[in-house]
């Protein structure tokens, strides 16, 4: 859908798992949900989070695929593996910084969120973002998301790796990127140069 973007805001999530249930109703992967859902730490908090694929501009999953089975479309959607090519080696599962791809044993193939490209192509919003009661998953116009307290960003740092994505994360105002600190594992000399200000 032209002019619409996908926004994720775990702080709105109420843990209802409507997205998980609705995802498997989609035509392209019926019976299999592609949503990643977590209770963060149920003993400590009620906080939950639901994620779709972030659809990276330079998808790590595709870069590490030895079978060249993962393709990004012109619309920016990173697709499930191509069945004839996928060897279910799990490279993508291990490499994705967001932990998105899954091997589906029934098909012996990697499947992942394709942002309901079949729906968006015909003017429907992705299933998960349509049903989400808290709009923690939202597929809306940028001017609509601007009403929120939190602001969108699509720049992530995983230690040395800078990742930009099609999907936006809602972050506190004035925070231009999101850093997940794995600096302890990286070469100290390089760290300074890559960390955000």
């Amino acid at each position: 859908m032209f002019g619409y973007e996908f926004y994720l805001d775990p702080s709105r999530c109420i843990g209802c798992q409507s997205c998980v249930r609705a995802c498997e109703e989609c035509e392209t992967h019926r019976g299999h949900s592609m949503i990643n859902f977590d209770f963060i730490d149920r003993e400590e908090t009620i906080a939950t989070a639901a994620y779709v694929c972030w659809h990276c501009d330079d998808p790590t999953c595709a870069e590490v695929c030895p079978a060249d089975a993962i393709k990004k479309g012109e619309d920016g959607i990173v697709h499930s593996s191509l069945k004839p090519r996928c060897i279910a080696c799990q490279n993508c599962v291990l490499a994705c910084p967001f932990g998105i791809p899954k091997i589906v044993p029934e098909y012996d193939q990697m499947l992942k969120c394709d942002m309901c490209y079949d729906r968006t192509a015909v003017g429907k919003r992705p299933m998960c973002a349509t049903v989400c009661p808290s709009q923690a998953l939202a597929y809306v116009r940028p001017e609509d998301i601007a009403h929120r307290r939190e602001k969108p960003t699509n720049i992530f740092y995983f230690g040395n790796q800078r990742v930009t994505t099609k999907v936006f994360m809602m972050a506190p105002e004035n925070q231009e990127s999101i850093s997940i600190d794995v600096a302890d594992y990286t070469w100290e000399g390089e760290r300074e140069a890559f960390l955000p200000a």
Partner: protein, 751 residues
């Protein structure tokens, strides 16, 4: 006597709950085959979300969000997403059943209805008209609800008709009607994002009214402050600006404390109080003792938090207070709701955009189902059954002499008590599963077994239906046309998507047939729900809930009509009390003083812990439908008891340990969920399950004296770690293994 002829476990093996995971034909059916989309509403909670059902060959095969519907814009909770799996379910009753030595046997409509009519007549001839009672339900369409009330009063001539809405929001109704002259949320939900302060007390919005979450978050996006009062840190509390951890059963003290601070600091709206209300002085006197210190001691909420909440609420130009079962399920449920109203009236927050108070009605047609006569104390149009003018009007519409109109009868729990005492001998029940949903479940079971006749109209064999003499295979929501009314007072149109399968029949059809066999057919000539609506419009005309101007076509055109709607030209009334004008003849809103009193099941040395019960997001009410949908069950398979780590430590309980919870009635053993999201003096168990897993074995039958709602939200209990898993768990584990092997074959055979 209404006793099952074979063990309940055996009945469960035959009739479920079995789990349905996939649509008709499995997940891999070709999706390119043509289907039609039917714009209708979810069958579950009071939000009544718009949804499109995918229909092919008289089967519901899936859903598609309905983004144009203005309440939910396509949003759905997991129950709504999976609701379609109740259609074509292997447990579906396809024929009327009669009890036999081997459980139940298939019957014919002729045999089962003649038998039902004969038994009801025999009991009434032997013991009197009022020896038979009728139970209805708030998930029925408005037309069906109307028909249930008329059927009881005209076809059976009994006083005793009540419904499971008695377990829902009646306390709110009994507070709002005296205060405003009307029992409805005074505002549309579109007001919520416009409030500057939102107080949500006793409402687990994220799990029990999920779509309302979006309205709450949008209020915050607009800069609104969110105050949450609840013994549990519920999902919406995660973004609260102020969280008030109120001790179960003490909400009234908190609300009186808030009003105390408002009045002490001069934050009240004197002009509004003067012009639009009566009874203020008595209320002002009643809250004088409830200073923050005293309120804190009673509620466990810090005094400064009470001060802060009162100031935020009192200083805002536009404040809204929302409440649900957490406030209403108490022996002082009416006073609790009245205290919310008092707070809003004192601060002038009513009848304006972005200001007001509202109950978040819980059941599917919780609003519409209580407006047109299946309540023991009301006639259609929300008219009081004690009002001679109302009796005359309705008797005339029904074509009966006014002296034949029965008087007020007993409420839902009181009916079960009268059955237990042996005063009521026969019961006809639809859309109600008292074996799971009434408090003190062991008592309910004893009562059911005492019945001389139990007739059930249902689409699945509910836990209550297991006790029945006759089970009449009725219809799902999507199998009959009708109206519903949502939590915000919007009348919506339930479309008929498919016909009832095989020999199952529409509920209206069954009731009308039965009325004919009771010799009252001339009063029930309807050939369709549309004809019932025509009569309902007349019956409600001039009443409070005036539906005279409502038609299916108008509802479709406007995407819902807010009642009252007195004429066909009238657009409906989204916001009530505009300009501070109530429905009372003098136009004033009425304050009412409240007095605190303890719970009906107080904690003491033997039972030192508070037990509170409620819902989880993936299950609905007694679970008759949702315990049959595979993934909803997997999301939260069994009841667990939430315990704070501090309390757990004192009992040597760890997460996932088996814990026996004991009250003055009974005990159950369930798994522990050790979480910091609950008060350390309180435990929580959801109530959707039957028998040994039933939280309602623990609850008590203390009723609010006005609304007759049971006190589900506070019981006294003690806990101990159990050494071994309970029998039900071991039995289920072995049954599940067997079911995996057997289910497809047995399901196929029964179809």
């Amino acid at each position: 006597m209404a006793k099952p002829s074979i063990p309940l476990e055996e009945l469960a093996r035959q009739y479920g709950p079995h789990l349905n995971y996939a649509p008709v034909g499995g997940w891999h059916q070709e999706s390119t085959h043509p289907y039609s989309l039917v714009k209708t509403h979810c069958c579950f909670c009071g939000q009544q979300c718009g949804i499109q059902l995918k229909v092919r060959s008289n089967q519901v095969i899936g859903f598609e969000p309905w983004e144009e519907f203005p309440f939910n814009h396509g949003m759905l909770c997991p129950k709504g997403v999976k609701r379609y799996l109740q259609s074509n379910h292997p447990d579906r009753l396809l024929d009327p059943l009669m009890r036999s030595d081997s459980g139940f046997r298939k019957s014919t409509w002729e045999e089962s209805l003649s038998f039902t009519a004969r038994r009801l007549r025999e009991i009434q001839e032997k013991y009197g008209k009022d020896a038979v009672a009728v139970y209805g339900g708030a998930s029925l369409s408005t037309e069906k609800s109307y028909l249930v009330g008329k059927f009881a009063r005209v076809a059976l001539g009994t006083r005793h008709v009540d419904y499971n809405g008695r377990l829902c929001m009646v306390s709110a109704g009994h507070a709002y009607k005296p205060a405003f002259g009307v029992d409805r949320s005074p505002m549309p939900w579109s007001d919520i994002p416009k409030a500057q302060v939102l107080l949500i007390i006793g409402a687990n919005v994220g799990e029990c009214a999920p779509i309302t979450t979006d309205y709450v978050w949008r209020c915050r996006d607009n800069g609104g402050r969110l105050i949450i009062a609840d013994p549990r840190f519920t999902p919406i509390a995660r973004n609260a600006d102020l969280y008030l951890p109120v001790r179960p059963g003490t909400d009234l003290a908190l609300l009186m404390g808030l009003l105390h601070v408002v009045l002490r600091d001069g934050l009240e709206d004197r002009e509004f109080i003067q012009e639009h209300t009566t009874g203020f002085e008595a209320v002002a006197d009643s809250v004088k003792p409830y200073n923050p210190q005293k309120a804190a001691e009673m509620t466990g909420v810090p005094p400064d938090a009470i001060e802060k909440a009162a100031h935020w609420f009192g200083e805002a130009d536009r404040a809204i207070a929302l409440h649900a079962r957490g406030l209403e399920h108490h022996s002082k449920g009416v006073e609790n709701c009245t205290a919310v109203i008092n707070l809003c009236l004192a601060t002038g927050n009513i009848g304006r955009e972005g200001a007001g108070c509202a109950m978040i009605t819980g059941q599917g047609n919780g609003q519409g189902g209580r407006e047109h006569g299946q309540k023991c104390d009301q006639l259609p149009g929300q008219r009081s059954i004690d009002d001679p003018e109302a009796r005359r009007h309705v008797a005339q519409v029904w074509g009966i002499p006014v002296e034949e109109m029965p008087q007020k009868g007993l409420s839902a729990v009181e009916i079960m008590e009268a059955i237990h005492r042996g005063e009521i001998k026969g019961l006809l029940s639809l859309c109600f599963n008292p074996a799971v949903s009434l408090p003190d479940a062991n008592y309910t079971r004893e009562a059911l077994e005492k019945l001389e006749f139990l007739g059930i109209i249902d689409f699945f064999l509910s836990e209550t239906a297991r006790f029945a003499d006759v089970v009449l295979a009725g219809s799902l929501q999507e199998e009959e046309e009708g109206l519903g009314c949502t939590a915000e007072g919007r009348v919506v149109h339930i479309q008929k998507a498919v016909d009832p399968p095989a020999n199952a029949r529409g509920d209206c059809d069954i009731l009308c047939d039965l009325a004919g066999r009771l010799g009252k057919g001339q009063y029930f000539p309807y050939r369709s729900p549309r004809e019932i609506l025509e009569e309902l419009r007349e019956a409600s005309r001039g009443g409070i809930a005036d539906y005279y101007g409502i038609s299916y076509e108008k509802v479709d055109l406007q995407m819902g009509v807010f009642w009252p709607c007195p004429t066909p030209e009238h657009p409906g009334t989204p916001r009530l009390m505009e300009g501070g004008k109530s429905f009372h003849p003098d136009g004033k809103c009425r304050f009412a003083a409240t007095a605190w009193r303890p719970s009906g099941d107080p904690v003491d040395g033997d039972f030192p812990i508070y037990l509170t019960t409620g819902r989880v997001v993936s299950q609905y009410l007694s679970g008759t439908q949702t315990r049959r949908i595979g993934e909803l069950v997997e999301q939260y398979p069994e009841p667990r008891v939430e315990i704070h780590p501090r309390l757990a430590a004192t009992h040597n309980i760890k997460d996932k340990d088996w814990v026996t919870v004991t009250t003055r009635r009974s005990e159950i053993t369930v798994q522990a969920m050790v979480v910091k999201t609950i008060r350390p003096d309180t435990v929580f168990i959801p109530y959707h399950w039957p028998t040994e897993r039933s939280a309602n074995r623990l609850t008590h039958r203390t009723l609010d004296p006005h609304s007759k709602i049971p006190e589900f939200k506070v019981s006294a209990c003690r806990i101990r770690r159990a050494d071994a898993p309970p029998e039900w768990w071991l039995r289920r584990a072995s049954e599940q293994a067997r079911a995996v092997a057997q289910q497809p074959a047995s399901a196929k055979e029964r179809r």
